[in-house]
């Protein structure tokens, strides 16, 4: 296992999470869910610690983390932006909206701006197809978004 670079309190929290699932290797996905909920993302050190606690290989943990798009190894931004790529949103121009966010923030999908403010991700259907295309920023939902609205949305959070 790698040298743990996490703060002691974080390691303790992880140990506690693993323990709440009886340190069972078969509970790996649940443990990862909880860990991501706690830390916001799953950096290598967190995966190393979980592997050690559950007595599974780090390669296995990493395999699971990279298989599910829900799990992320990069911290999300302070304001996580999600663009819906479900069928309804897609046919009504979600891709152009996504391209505009990528262009204006200068980050690809799945990454976070250097100042840590914004991250971009895609999701599949938020159940608001009548508002397509839909964008969410944190908990807030924006409907009928066009590429022209992107600058205004970003501006709201840059204050």
């Amino acid at each position: 296992m790698a040298k743990i670079k996490l703060a002691k309190s974080k390691v303790e929290k992880l140990v506690e999470i693993c323990k709440s699932f009886d340190n069972k290797g078969s509970e790996l996905i649940n443990v990862l869910h909880k860990a991501q909920e706690t830390f916001g993302y799953l950096p290598a050190e967190v995966q190393e610690t979980i592997a050690r606690e559950l007595n599974v290989s780090v390669a296995h943990v990493y395999g699971v983390v990279t298989f599910y798009s829900f799990f992320s190894m990069v911290p999300k931004g302070e304001f996580p932006i999600s663009i819906c790529m479900g069928t309804a949103c897609y046919v009504r121009g979600a891709e152009k909206v996504l391209e505009e966010f990528k262009r204006q923030l200068n980050v690809p999908v799945g990454e976070t701006t250097e100042d840590g403010k914004f991250s971009i991700s895609c999701l599949r259907c938020v159940g608001a197809c009548g508002l397509a295309p839909v964008v969410t920023v944190g908990e807030r939902v924006y409907g009928r978004v066009s590429a022209g609205d992107v600058a205004d949305i970003i501006k709201e959070y840059q204050k």
């Binding site: 296992m1 790698a2 995966q47 190393e48 780090v58 390669a59 296995h60 990279t66 298989f67």
Partner: protein, 590 residues
């Protein structure tokens, strides 16, 4: 009574026990359904049938989709077609799709001629490729022993089964998904930074050129051509029991004499035997065992038992990574390869009147981890390795072919002396159980002061993954454990850690079967009967030797008299012993 099931395969009635796969049922009536990702390591109880490649599909009448025969169980009344036009076209399409993301460098690929993908494409009659798609472009990962070229990976995941289930090393896992999925170490780091032990079992089962050994043959050809260098070679015991297979000889054919002749013709200045160093290992390791045993019997609480053998470099890597808290238990004796090196460069070089730096020591090994072992810093003097590099049995076979030798007709020749003389005890180092049997032969006589009448310890032999036996040392019952395959080794180690072990000494070899099943041997494609034949060959060579106990090797006796002094003495400790490292903190995260 297990329930029997009746079905029809290719118009033939067949009855099989419930739970039998279509693939097995077909095999039973002489129908050989082609497979690619499938792997069956019968004796190890490992069947790898992820059904991932889809080459083994068959038509089950009444089902909408074709079924992978390797992991579809037979059902009562099933009617199965294994080679109608629908099935044949599907197989071909699957193969073409696989090849659409495979490099076309077969002519220069290390695996060419021994590649399952290549031969399956031939078998399926693929003559045209209809699909042009995206191609993977991974960085080639060069470690000291193993090269990973993931552009050639077909995701059969056999390597994962070997690494995780058989060896329990956990270096590899499938990562990412869809087109991006690939088998890789954690965080897609280089293998060298992972927990890989270099046992090479992944290489031994890889169906393509995705996993191959680091090839040292070009370096060797250059060194042999250099007139300023004296190039000496040592050959591990397991090599002579398998090399012949590369030349179409029956598994289990001993080719010791032909191998020596071939090495001489290749241009080595001296052809020696690692078995000589194996005898030396027994002197050192056996002495250490008896010393620890005596102290233990005298009630010394600081002495740790069992003592574990330390000949196997993949095993050493394994405990350094996974059981560093127990690194004081294995013997400090170096492996035979690494005992040969310093004796050659410090003693033989002087005898031959040459300088250390002008001597190149090469080893022929059944092993990939030996390549890494040569490079370990503690086995170098001012940057000069005691053993410069090792080549595998497979690499040697290629060299012999390149040198235009008709191996089968070579006359038998003898090893050179002094470091070519070995006893039967040194020979059996190449198979599981052999090292501890060799140690028992010498330790018995030294401990009891009596002559051992029956040198064959049959109880220590066999192919079971974990074996134990009690050897009577003239009233002292010595409990001996044996494990081969790192998964089995792990079980014994966990018992020791939990205080449940009752052994005095344990022999561990990383590869199933021991060195005869090493990652550098001719590929046995999971056929364990080949391993048994190789082991039998070594026991045959042992039985035919005039001297069968290491401490009776006249050149070993002379070496101690003239140079080393006594076993585990000061010079021995400097040249023939080592220490181990805690590598559990070794992984770097980038």
């Amino acid at each position: 009574m297990e329930k029997m099931i009746k079905l029809i395969i290719d118009k033939k009635q067949v009855e099989v026990p419930q739970g039998t796969t279509i693939l097995e049922a077909a095999k039973g009536i002489g129908i050989d359904i082609p497979t690619l990702c499938y792997m069956n390591l019968g004796d190890m109880g490992i069947e790898h049938n992820p059904g991932g490649c889809r080459i083994c599909v068959v038509e089950v009448e009444g089902r909408r989709n074709l079924a992978p025969s390797c992991n579809t169980k037979c059902g009562d009344g099933m009617v199965i077609n294994t080679h109608n036009i629908r099935v044949l076209n599907a197989r071909k399409t699957v193969m073409e799709l696989m090849l659409s993301d495979h490099p076309f460098d077969c002519l220069v690929c290390a695996k060419s001629g021994n590649c399952d993908l290549q031969s399956m494409a031939q078998q399926l009659g693929v003559r045209e490729l209809h699909y042009k798609g995206e191609q993977s472009t991974y960085k080639v990962d060069y470690s000291p022993s193993i090269i990973r070229d993931m552009d050639k990976c077909i995701m059969c995941r056999r390597c994962e089964t070997m690494c995780n289930e058989v060896q329990t090393v956990g270096a590899l896992s499938a990562v990412n998904r869809g087109f991006q999925s690939v088998v890789a170490p954690a965080f897609e780091m280089d293998l060298e930074k992972s927990v890989c032990t270099y046992c090479g079992q992944c290489v031994a089962v890889c169906p393509t050129g995705a996993l191959t050994e680091k090839d040292h043959t070009n370096q060797l050809i250059r060194d042999l051509a250099d007139a300023k260098k004296t190039v000496v070679v040592q050959t591990a015991p397991a090599v002579r029991a398998a090399l012949g297979e590369e030349f179409g000889m029956e598994p289990g054919t001993l080719v010791t004499g032909k191998m020596v002749a071939a090495l001489r013709q290749l241009g080595f200045d001296s052809v020696f035997d690692t078995d000589f160093a194996a005898d030396l290992t027994i002197m050192e390791e056996g002495t250490e065992l008896l010393d620890r045993l005596k102290k233990h019997l005298d009630g010394d609480k600081n002495v740790k038992l069992p003592i574990l053998t330390s000949c196997c470099p993949a095993w050493v890597n394994f405990f350094e990574h996974h059981f560093p808290d127990m690194k004081e238990i294995p013997s400090t004796a170096r492996s035979p390869q690494q005992m040969f090196g310093p004796i050659a460069k410090n003693y033989l070089a002087k005898e031959m009147g040459i300088k250390r730096e002008d001597m190149i020591v090469v080893s022929i090994m059944p092993c990939l981890a030996k390549k890494y072992e040569c490079q370990r810093d503690e086995f170098k003097v001012d940057g000069d390795p005691d053993v410069n590099y090792s080549i595998t049995t497979r690499e040697l076979a290629n060299l012999i072919k390149q040198a235009n030798m008709d191996f089968k007709t070579l006359p038998d020749e003898e090893f050179d002396n002094p470091m070519g003389e070995s006893t039967g005890a040194g020979v059996i180092f190449g198979t599981t159980g052999g090292v501890i049997e060799a140690a028992a032969r010498t330790a018995y006589e030294v401990y009891t002061g009596k002559t051992l009448e029956k040198v064959d310890f049959e109880a220590l032999r066999g192919m079971e993954g974990i074996r134990s036996a009690t050897v009577d040392f003239d009233g002292l019952p010595l409990n001996i454990g044996i494990a081969h395959g790192l998964g089995n080794a792990r079980k014994l180690l966990e018992d020791i850690r939990d205080g449940k072990s009752h052994y005095h000494a344990i022999e561990i070899m990383a590869c199933p079967g021991g060195c005869i099943g090493g990652g550098g041997q001719p590929l046995h494609h999971g056929d364990s009967s080949i391993l048994k034949k190789r082991a039998a060959a070594l026991y045959r060579e042992d039985a035919g030797k005039a001297i069968r106990k290491s401490h009776e090797n006249p050149y070993i006796i002379k070496l101690y008299e003239e140079f080393l002094g006594k076993p585990c003495g000061e010079l021995s400790h400097k040249l023939l012993h080592t220490h181990y490292f805690d590598k559990s903190n070794d992984i770097e995260i980038e």
